[in-house]
């Protein structure tokens, strides 16, 4: 794992960074942490629920199935679609 320079302090920053970080970062937080690290769910949903109390948004984001996409960018678009629909 390579640590990136991207740190989100707020929900707005988080939304911006999901749009901007490398695809590998999306894959790591959305798939690897969930599947390989036994985190229970993807990091984004955990953060939305734990830090912002947005349990319903977190649940909807968790329903995004990474296996339905054939690339990191397609997955990022799906994640952003849910976030923008629910947060903007």
């Amino acid at each position: 794992m390579v640590e990136t320079k991207y740190v989100a302090q707020t929900l707005a920053e988080f939304l911006d960074l999901v749009d901007a970080v490398p695809g590998e970062s999306i894959l790591y937080h959305f798939v690897a942490r969930w599947v390989l690290c036994g985190a229970g769910r993807n990091d984004f949903s955990t953060w939305l629920d734990k830090d912002f109390g947005l349990a319903d948004v977190a649940d909807e984001l968790s329903s995004v199935d990474p296996l339905a996409f054939n690339g990191e960018e397609a997955l990022r678009e799906a994640v952003l679609r849910v976030l923008k629909k629910r947060l903007l």
Partner: protein, 184 residues
């Protein structure tokens, strides 16, 4: 053999595959296709099945059978999918489904996860016994066809009208409090 994959995939990726496989040890898995040799699927399965077994997975591979008439029918389906509208006689569907039933009885399909790799065997989904759903992966369609199943102190996003969702002013409820740092 799995160690030899490191040079092509990288150590992290192979480690990830090993970890994923550890979580699937209890599942019985079956691959089904239409030819034991020749064609991309058979070529892949010849290598994939031994690899999956090396990873400790309970994997079987079975090949459906059919007569000349059956494969003429599936060839017609294939051509229809490739080139567009084709008149398919009702009799062709009967032949197709008759052989699905024969193969379903012979294959058993008792496994918890069944991969159907070719359209020639796609009708087997009707005879599934276990699991939540079935995966159908075909060489003409690599993607899955069917499943087996706040803001910081006033810093709103510039492209977005100010919204309470992004407000973290003192009066904001805890629902929208600033989060602790999250590194992406």
């Amino acid at each position: 053999m799995i160690e030899r994959c490191i040079q092509f995939m990288g150590e992290d990726e192979v480690d990830a595959v090993v970890k994923l496989a550890e979580r699937l040890q209890d599942l019985s898995i079956l691959h089904v296709n239409s030819t034991a040799a020749g064609g991309g699927v058979a070529e892949i399965l010849n290598r994939l099945v031994p690899l999956m077994r090396e990873l400790g997975l309970r994997v079987d591979w079975r090949v459906i059978r059919g007569d000349q008439e059956f494969f003429a029918v599936t060839k017609t389906f294939h051509n229809a999918l490739q080139v567009g509208a084709v008149e398919v006689p009702r009799r062709f569907y009967e032949i197709y489904h008759r052989w699905q039933e024969i193969n379903a009885n012979e294959l058993g399909l008792d496994h918890e996860v069944v991969f159907i790799h070719d359209p020639q065997a796609a009708g087997l989904v009707k005879y599934r016994k276990k699991g939540l759903g079935y995966g159908v992966a075909t060489s003409t369609s690599p993607r899955r066809i069917q499943r087996c199943g706040a803001s910081s102190g006033g810093a709103c996003r510039s492209a977005t009208p100010p919204s309470s969702t992004y407000r973290s002013s003192p009066e904001a409820t805890s629902k929208y409090r600033s989060c602790s740092s999250r590194r992406l």
